[in-house]
Symmetry: C2
Subunit: 459 residues, 2 copies
């Protein structure tokens, strides 16, 4: 192998691990638009948010000026259990592709939640514990976030109630069992345990649930039960803040070897992984200290950046959450079946939306069959079975590396490998059996749901 002064895996020492999260918003001239109260059209205050979220998390949500926020020691100790995550030089993939490009990936899948979600789950659980709460509630679709939160709550002896979309609860019993093993109570949603659940079940007796409904149930339980708050695994500013640990570690590892990336690639659903990975690089770009090509990759079945509109919208399909300004396909948009459950979100982080709007990053969309082709190619040479979500980034990283092969350019490509695919083998089976298809929304589909965007009251 050429260039073997760089090890296969770069690990930071514990001393080199980040001691503070980086708040990307602090370096943005155009700040992300604030969350609005859907009734008044006014920006939500800390007071309005604190019955739902923990106090310190509300403060983090609203803080767009402080550049660095210290990571509490308890969280840093937990991080040491599964972090630093390795920055891997994909020597074998490069060789297989015959590319002069140098490919690195930051691998977040070496923990039992199987993804980067744990980085924010442990932070949110910590602040809940610190506030003296009894527990937290959340929703989960495919189950990655619910698993991460269960692990975090177990660590801090917090009660954890997860509303799991009924169809996933039934079809993904293994994810459910991991959560139960970590002591969480997992309720199929809609359920008889909440008012909103009862109402939905009365109206739609046979429903298999939706993320929007699960959010509504989780928020209801959090707000009705003293000592509980609701937590969320993506989209929010606070989540991107916690996830900055990914990018900070990546940058520290690259700096250690004097490596400067040309292209940084991440998959994008709600934006938590991408926002975390690019944070310190984007910071340099915003401050004019460096330039990078930054590429968000989304599924062609749910293309909020590439085919959505930049407007205020609800974060949930149930339309009970605050309004966020973001690239959105409309909260009534129902993405066609896609095996990357973590990317099936109609909107996008407000922070990333503003950056994209201002031209600081690119976006592209890819079809799932080509994603699984890349996933399999990657698995065979790099020895890691990637999650379908992460494989979106692999697809584009491979495409960029192949362009380098044509041009002879030795570009350095860094991508985020957010997780493993151990719980996605139904999807792999479909791919292996040649039964996977691509379903892309028509322009009419998208126009119809965008037409239903909420009218924002005059503030």
């Amino acid at each position: 192998m050429a260039d073997q002064t760089i090890p296969y895996k770069i690990y930071l020492t514990e001393e080199e691990m980040p001691k503070a999260w980086y708040n990307l918003r602090s370096d943005m001239k155009n700040k992300p638009a604030p969350l609005l109260n859907p009734g008044t059209g006014k920006p939500l205050t800390a007071e309005e948010l604190s019955p739902i979220f923990c106090e310190e998390l509300v403060a983090q949500e609203l803080d767009d000026t402080t550049p660095f926020i210290e990571i509490p020691e308890e969280i840093r100790n937990f991080y040491k259990m599964y972090r630093p995550s390795p920055l891997v030089r994909a020597y074998c993939l490069e060789q297989k592709l015959g590319t002069p490009a140098k490919i690195y990936y930051k691998f977040e899948g070496n923990n039992t939640s199987g993804s980067h979600k744990l980085n924010s789950a442990i932070a949110q659980a910590y602040y809940a514990k610190k506030q003296g709460l009894k527990g937290v509630t959340t929703e989960t679709g495919a189950g990655q976030w619910g698993t991460a939160l269960s692990m975090a709550c177990s660590y801090f002896d917090l009660d954890c109630k997860v509303f799991m979309v009924k169809v996933s609860y039934e079809q993904k019993p293994f994810r459910r069992e991991v959560m139960r093993t970590y002591g969480a109570s997992v309720v199929p949603s809609p359920s008889e345990t909440t008012e909103v659940g009862k109402k939905i079940l009365a109206e739609h007796p046979g429903t298999t649930g939706s993320l929007g409904c699960a959010i509504s149930e989780a928020v209801e339980v959090a707000t009705k039960n003293p000592g509980y708050r609701y937590v969320l695994g993506s989209v929010l500013n606070q989540v991107l803040l916690h996830q900055s640990v990914i990018g900070l570690e990546t940058k520290a590892a690259l700096d250690k070897y004097g490596i400067k990336p040309d292209i940084i690639i991440g998959c994008a659903g709600g934006g938590s992984n991408l926002g975390g990975l690019i944070a310190p690089f984007m910071g340099e770009k915003l401050r004019g200290e460096a330039d990078y090509r930054i590429i968000a990759v989304e599924p062609a079945s749910c293309p909020s950046f590439t085919r959505g509109t930049y407007a205020y919208d609800f974060c949930d399909t149930g339309m009970i959450c605050p309004l966020a300004k973001m690239y959105t396909l409309g909260s009534s948009f129902i993405p066609s079946a896609n095996h990357a459950g973590g990317l099936r979100f109609h909107g996008m982080s407000s922070t990333l939306s503003q950056l994209y709007h201002d031209g600081y990053m690119e976006a592209t969309s890819v079809e799932q069959t080509s994603v699984f082709e890349a996933a399999e190619q990657f698995a065979r040479v790099e020895g890691i079975l990637p999650a379908p979500e992460s494989s979106h980034a692999i697809r584009v990283a491979i495409d960029e590396a192949l362009k380098c092969k044509e041009t002879g350019e030795e570009k350095t490509i860094v991508f985020g490998l957010t997780g493993t695919g151990y719980f996605d083998l139904v999807a792999y089976q479909k791919y292996n059996d040649g039964e996977m298809t691509d379903t892309i929304p028509t322009d009419e589909d998208i126009a119809a749901s965008i037409a239903k965007l909420p009218k924002v009251p005059e503030a």
Copy 2:
């Protein structure tokens, strides 16, 4: 946390990784008894073994004098993709237990095969490739070994035929899909593709298969097809040799911080993990340079060390393999249902059997409900969902740590965490639902199968 001069995870650098495997047999005064030809009762020669196994592997199998065997560069490069594995200081578990003991575990689960099996799979695939073979055949029960071999063969572009016990093929479709994703052909056994398979199907039309039958099919295909050989994932001396990388890394990591373990604990099925973990420590013990308590942990449902007999026996239930001298419950012994599929083997590595016989190590057996109790306790504080097999070692490590709590002794305990439990969630579900039971063989059961041990012909 006390004692935080030791990091949570000790990683070796690439330069510090072992460059040679350690051949434990070289330091044994009483060598493990040789494999015998069941027809003649004579030790098997290289000539007799080479139609079944690759030439270099036969040489390794028979070599009980060379202390170190160089790890070829291609294998070392592959090792760098997923090794070094971390030696983890279980600070959180220690705190939870309130023990003065210092607990370390060597975690082999951070690769897609999910266990240590890949360490030998890649070596066996390499030698097959080097010999110019087209492919290899093997059997797999629960699927860990088959997965590891698929990954290894994919890396070296070797054909890989896996005979998977039919009941597992049907009940563990996800393991099967991982193998297929790595390009292996996976055949449910018994099958119509072999003579022995056809014969068994004719005699037992509804059979769901057995490991013994799958071995027979794999050996038949290997010996009948030019360019193919058979490979095996445990029990054999060559496998223990390759797995010594676990112990060598562990020892190097401990030495780096001047740590001397008091107790070393590993689960034991065929012995590949335990033999690998303890190798360099046992070497010191054999040479009189150091002393360690070494404990093999086996399931109470399949207690070959603790309730078996030391005798020549077949390695397979089909009785077509060579005879090995080992602690055995008899090759006709059928262990009761136990969720640690990797430990459901009637015998034990000849090398470990000899060491146990000579008093160099202890053995203990544990019941699966107490194993899952330990697994859950571990998962909740250490953030890793352990494989049922590995959890046998966790159980005894916790027990030893609790003894230290009583006596106040600050013993250093090292155990092998061989893998993750992502494909064992049916078992976790049973445990979570309170439906797991313990079934321990009666003395009569064991006596009956031991009575059927083969008569060894006079050599």
